[in-house]
Symmetry: C2
Subunit: 123 residues, 2 copies
């Protein structure tokens, strides 16, 4: 039987490449993946047809744009984006988040973009 | 279409009853629940037959006892306990965690105990 180990977020983020947008898988629970994401800038509007998606903010500030409002999120806050709901994360100063969603979900959902990552790597 | 709101962990924890062990649901993603848990003391040995279970530590220190080792976890760390793996969380000073698992999972798994919570409430 596999014996589990802990994941330290700061340690994982310190290994990310120095880019405005990077994403890596750090853990798996059943068929769900935990991904760390570092982002600065403006993402693309998109939605996920088949699944909800969870963002837990670990550092920095995220402006989660929705069609009817903007939700400002900081360290110690989370949001669940229900399936089908259009959203666009953005951040001037940058953020670090933990993203939780089923394996195989595309980061840009229904929107193809230069930001699309088809198969995130583990770190 | 439901429009999502953010969840602030400190705000949610401030509303928990002042007990050594309390647990409330704060969010749902598909059929998974996010629960905040405050705990001090020694839990019961148990495992979950059908599902993995994720602990994200938000405050304090957790000693996750496994049959072959003890994993010490603090703020900014997480662990996924695979299904079937026996575990016993414990903490002298107390901890606050975010627990993620499918709805309907019993907190004490295969072990009935005075700590068993059959149907956690929302907060």
């Amino acid at each position: 039987m596999m014996t589990p180990s802990k994941i330290n977020f700061a340690d994982k983020f310190s290994k990310l490449p120095d880019e405005d947008y990077s994403m890596r898988i750090v853990a798996k629970m059943n068929n769900y993946e935990f991904k760390i994401v570092k982002f600065k800038g403006e993402f693309v509007w998109h939605s996920h047809t088949d699944t909800d998606e969870t963002f837990i903010i670990l550092k920095g500030k995220m402006l989660m744009h929705l069609r009817d409002k903007i939700v400002e999120l900081t360290d110690g806050e989370m949001i669940v984006i229900p399936k089908g709901v259009e959203h666009k994360p953005a951040s001037e100063e940058g953020y670090e988040v933990l993203l939780i969603e089923p394996e195989g979900v595309h980061n840009t959902g229904n929107a193809e973009s230069k930001m699309t990552i088809n198969k995130p790597e583990w770190i």
